[in-house]
Each structure stands twice: as C-alpha cells, then as structure tokens.
Amino acid sequence: MSANILAFSAVAALAIASGIGVIAFRNAIYSALSLIVNLLSLALFYLILNGMFIAAAQVLIYAGAIMVLFLFVVTMLSSDKAELQTSDRISWQRLVGVIAGIIFAAAASFLLLVHAQIAPDAAAQGSNNLFTQISAPGSGNTEAFGMALFHGFLFPFEVTSAIIVAAILGAVVLGRRSRAKSED
C-alpha cells in the first residue's frame, strides 16, 4: 500500500465522518463546523492529487469566506435556542429514507468499488485534459490552471459571471425587501 493510498483513506474517512456530521448534528453550529471540516478534507484531496492551487482556492473561498458567513448567520440566529426542535409529521419517511439510502450506498459502492475499472483510453483522454496537466508535479500548476481557464474553458468561465449577477440581484431583491419591511 503506497503512502498515497494511506493518505487518501485517512482523508476519505475524515470526509465521510464530517459529512455524516453535517446531517446528523441537531445543533446547526456543529453541522456548520462539520461542513467546514468536510470542505477542508476536500482541499486535502486536491493536495494528494498535487492540485495545490485548487486546494488553496478551496480553503480560501469555501472555508475562509463562505463558511464564515454561514457561521455568522447561524451563530446570530440560533444562539438562544441552539438545539433545533422541529416536530416531524412524517417521521416514517426518515426511516424509509435511511434504509433506501443505505441500499443505494451499498449498491453503488459494490458496483463502483468491486467491479468498475477506468477504461485505459478514457484515462489517457483525461490525462491529456486539464486536470492532470495542472496537477503535474513540479510544473507551476497555477499557470496551467490560468491557461486552461482563459483558453479552453473561457466560455464557461464567462458564463459564471452571469450567474453571479443573478445571485447578487437575488440578494438585493430579498435583502432590500426585508429592510423596507422593518422600516415600516
């Protein structure tokens, strides 16, 4: 077993555990913290793949900015009654969901882990592709990332700006409305 696989297994265990934590904790803050751990373990996955730039960006954007805002809102809203108390009218669905989820996860992992193989030329096709080149050790993968982003992937990159405009407008619409209401 190589060091890479060991590292991967450790991080994967961490990622799964924290992922379960996100949905299992009753306290929203602990859920948010688990999500942070989950996002950080994703960054570790990128590091294992030598994707340093993506790893740093992941930490900077998700853990450093987005989750801070999450935590900000959650601590502000639920500081009084930290435990989320909701009466569940359809509690049988939870049980069914858990069973169905376990069956799905088992079937998927059986298929994917036991039987599946990556086709060699799919791997070759992929290795010529963006993600392997930017993770090539030693090469400045930030440069490769930038080249890919502003050449082959220019169009999707530009489209994201439209999505961000929509998101900003949403914040304006919903935020301004609640302010107008509180001023009444």
């Binding site: 998927a108 298929l111 994917l112 039987h115 599946a116 193989q117 990556i118 086709a119 030329d121 799919a122 791997a123 070759a124 096709q125 992929g126 010529n128 592709n129 963006l130 080149q133 080249m147 890919a148 050449h151 082959g152 992937f153 220019l154 169009f155 999707p156 489209v159 994201t160 439209a162 999505i163 405009v165 929509a166 998101a167 407008l169 949403g170 304006v172 619409v173 919903l174 301004r176 409305r177 209401k181």
Partner: protein
C-alpha cells in the same frame, strides 16, 4: 488533445442568439438606475427588444451553415438548439407581455430587478438548449434556476411566494447535486465532458453493468436522469411543481412551465437520444417507466385540484409524461415529436397562464375553480381565449395540442412501443375531464349570486371530486375583467398560434423534423 485552445473569431459568431439578451440585461440594470419609479414599466420594452434581437440572432444562425460547435466544444448552434431557442424566446416574449399589467396590480416595486432576472433566466434556458458539454449543461441549469428561485419569491409580503421560492431552491439544489454527481461519474467513465467525445467513446467501447467502466457510466446516467427529471417535473420528482407554480407570479409560472421544460427536454434529447444513442438499451427502460407513471399520475393528480393554477401545474406534469414518451422511443422520430409538442405546449400553456394572470386582480387571489363561474358572460373574449387554450391542452383535434400529441404517439406506435401510445391516448382522454370542467364552469354556470342554484352548484363541485372552498366572492367574480394592452396582445398571439398550428400543422412538424435530423 491539447487543452490550450485559442478562441477564434468564428467562435463569437455562435453567440448571436445569446448576445442581444446579454446586452439588454446589462442595459436594463443601467437604465433602471436613471428612471424615476413611475416610468420603470418602460423597462419591459428593453427586455422585449432583447428577446426580439435574440430571435433575429437565431434566424441568422439558422441561415448560416458550417461548423456548429464553438468554444472548444462548449456550445453548439445546431438546428435542435435553434428550435429550442425559438420556443424559449416566444415563451419569454409572451411572459414579458403579460408582466406589466400583472406587476402593476400586484404592486411590485422592483421592476428593474424583475426584468433583469427574467432575461437572465431566459439566457440560462438558451444556454441550456445550446449546451454541447456537461460543463455548459450544468452552468445553463444554474443560470436558469438561480433567477427563477428569486422570481418565485418575488411577490412582496406573500407567505406563499416565500414558500414557493424556498421550496424550489432547496429541492432544486438537491437535484443539482444528483446531476453533478452524475456528470462527474460520466466524465470519470469516458474521460471527457464534451458530448461529442462521450458519444464517440461509447460507440467504440463495450461495457456491462458489472465490468469495465460500466458501473461508473450507468450510475452516472441514472443520476443524470434524476437531475433532469426534476427539471421537467416527472413523477416521482414532481412534488415541488404545484407549490412552486402556485406561489410564483403568474407570468413567471408561465415562463417556468414552458421555458424550463423546453430547455430540460432539449438536454434530455441531446444527452440521451443523441449522446447515449448507441447504448439505448441501458436507459430506455427507466425513461419508459417514468413516462408511464408521469402520464397516468399527472392526470389523476390534476383531476383532484380545485385551484386552477395547481390544476395547470399538475397538467404540466402530465404533459411532461407525454413528452417523455417521445424520449423513451429513443429515435429521431420521437425527438421530432417532442419538439413539436414543446412548441405547441409553449403557446397553449403560456396562453392559459396569461388568462389566469389577468384574472388575478389582487394580491393573494389565486384563481379557484368557482372564481371562473360565468366568466363567459362577464368577459366573453377572455373566456373564449381560455377555452381555446384548454381545448388545446386537452388535445381536441383542431387545436394545436392535438398535433403535439399526435406526433408523439405516432412516433411511439411506429417505433414499436404501441403500449406507450395506448397509455398516452387513454390518459389524455381522462384528462378531458378536468379541462372541460373549467370550460363548463365558465360557460354554463352563472356567476355566484344569492340564488339557490349556486348552492346546488357547490354540491356538484364537491361531488366532482374537489373540496371547493367556501363561497368566497372575489373581485374576479364580481366584475368584468379589465385586460391590459400587453396581455391582450400576448393572448391574441398565443390564441392565433394555437389555432393556426392546429389547422395548418405541416410547417411546424417539418421544422421539428429538420431539427431532429429527419428529412
């Protein structure tokens, strides 16, 4: 393959259909700053101009020939994309025409944002129809969903609106997760995100469920089906549809119902019928089952509704089922059928929601069945328009809906799926009930008054399967409905389209066949 791809001048030409809308979106936001609050309804003109410009762009792309792929295989401007784009543009155009009157009645203050978001959503739909890579598909879905979440919650101060936006957001985000996971697995199996590359890969490789890259690919495909089924609101991924449609502003519902469905079905066709065309056996069964459940379930659920908007939402589910039949047959004939269906559905559905929006005079008046009583005597034109759209939705020969159903069922029968044809025909026959019930309410039941007649009427409604709300006399029942100019034009266009295509369907069927690659 080297990923350093330099964008050429020819690439930009492929944006002709998108660029005008991008420009007017930016313009709308800019002009909004300088307009006084009262003049903001003029912004609709900017948005309409953008849609018209995009339509012109589509026409120019249709005339041009040559390479359809652009931007490193990210988007395509083939006839399928252009056909879908036209439907979306028409829907957006009609929805924009209905909007000003509705906005005025509902007292929406943030008109600039409203029109900007509508244009952004239209952009997302256009992008989705022309997506040629898994990456662009995902971005398109996000770009169309994000503005729609906000627009659903747009009516100020309505709990239902917030519920609508929130529900759509949560469930849609969940569905996006499935879609994304499916894309990741597909990419892992085939080593490329470009649809052409995937198609090529599948044509040259063998796989089974338990060997080779099969597990990845089949799992990916299954998850893709889930994600897309959510967008077309196929049963069992339909649960969001009635609540979201009910709380959203009606012009947005109109756009959402036809536009999103068009975009999602074009992706369905592009992904499954085209890209996964060589492995039909692996996915056909799932879609087949989905089509049957959706067709039957949608009609049953629609029949139980008393709120007209919810009824139309469930009827939308049923229509998604008919269209899925076209996908399930998995050939060009089915594709042509779905495209024809989408085109006529856009007209009749937008028209029906347009009539509803004219009836919703005030905040929080959702049109119930008994609000429609005697509409024919109060507003004969409106009632006539509604009748036309409902006849079309029901699929009565002579109106456009019949053409859509005919082409889809024909494709199923010819391709050896006679069982789908039979189920479809029977389901649409059952669907007559709830469409005709509305028409009967409008024409043969007098307006609510003090007579004993209305008492007995209630008993009838209840016995007809609905739990009719207590006799509330809304403004809609009290007086004739004033129809704004924009809505009149929109309804006129839709009605003419519905009747025109119903009588002379050859043109549109031919266009759809061209888009599907048939002679």
């Amino acid at each position: 393959m080297n990923f350093i791809y330099t964008v050429s001048n020819a690439d930009w030409g492929h944006l002709l259909a998108l660029a005008p809308l991008v420009v007017t979106t930016a313009l709308t936001m800019l002009i909004d700053i300088f307009l006084p609050a009262k003049a903001r309804s003029a912004l609709v003109a900017v948005a309409l101009a953008g849609v018209a410009g995009s339509g012109a762009g589509v026409y120019m792309l249709y005339q041009s020939s040559g390479n359809v792929l652009a931007f490193n295989g990210m988007i395509t401007t083939d006839h399928l994309a252009l056909f879908g784009s036209v439907i979306i543009l028409v829907t957006t155009f009609l929805s924009l025409l209905i909007a000003p009157g509705y906005i005025e009645r509902q007292g929406v203050a943030q008109q600039g944002e409203y029109y900007t978001l509508v244009q952004l959503a239209a952009l997302g739909m256009l992008l989705l129809t022309s997506a040629a890579s898994l990456m662009t598909i995902f971005l398109g879905i996000e770009l169309l969903s994000l503005p729609l979440y906000i627009l659903c919650a747009f009516s100020p101060g309505q709990t239902k609106a917030y519920e609508s936006g929130m529900k759509y957001f949560m469930l849609s985000a969940f569905a996006s997760g499935f879609l994304l996971y499916g894309m990741a697995l597909t990419y892992g199996a085939t080593g490329t995100t470009q649809l052409a590359g995937i198609q090529n890969f599948l044509a040259n490789h063998q796989f089974t469920l338990t060997s080779g890259f099969g597990p990845y690919f089949i799992m990916g495909m299954a998850l893709l089906i889930i994600g897309l089924s959510f967008k077309v609101s196929a049963i069992p991924f339909h649960a969001w549809t009635p609540d979201v449609y009910e709380g959203a502003p009606t012009p947005i519902t109109a756009m959402m119902a036809s536009g999103t469905k068009t975009a999602a079905f074009v992706v369905f066709i592009r992904l499954f019928t085209e890209t996964f065309g060589s492995v039909t056996a692996e996915w056909q069964g799932i879609i087949w089952a989905l089509a049957i459940i959706t067709t039957i379930g949608g009609n049953i659920l629609a029949a139980t509704q008393t709120n007209v908007k919810r009824m139309l939402a469930y009827s939308g589910v049923a229509h998604a089922g008919y269209m899925l039949i076209g996908v399930a047959v998995a050939n060009s004939l089915g594709t042509a059928g779905v495209l024809t269906y989408l085109a006529v559905y856009a007209l009749m559905n937008t028209g029906a929601f347009g009539v509803l929006s004219a009836l919703e005079q005030q905040i929080d008046t959702n049109v119930g069945l008994d609000d429609l009583r005697g509409l024919a005597s109060r507003s004969p034109l409106l009632a006539a328009a509604m009748a036309i759209f409902l006849f079309a939705l029901a699929g009565i020969p002579g109106a456009a809906g019949f053409i859509g159903k005919y082409t889809v069922f024909y494709a199923a029968a010819v391709s050896g799926h006679i069982e789908l044809t039979i189920i479809g025909v029977l389901a649409s026959a059952a669907g007559f009930f709830y469409y005709l019930r509305v028409i009967w309410m409008m024409y043969f039941v007098p307006p609510a008054g003090s007579s004993a007649e209305s008492e007995s009427l209630h008993a009838e409604i209840i016995s007809a399967g609905g739990s009719a709300a207590a006799a509330k006399v809304s403004i809609a029942t009290a007086a004739a409905v004033a129809l704004p100019v924009g809505a009149t034009i929109a309804l006129f266009i839709a009605a003419v389209g519905v009747i025109g295509f119903g009588i002379a369907p050859a043109e549109i069927i031919q266009l759809a066949r061209n888009a599907a690659g048939l002679p």
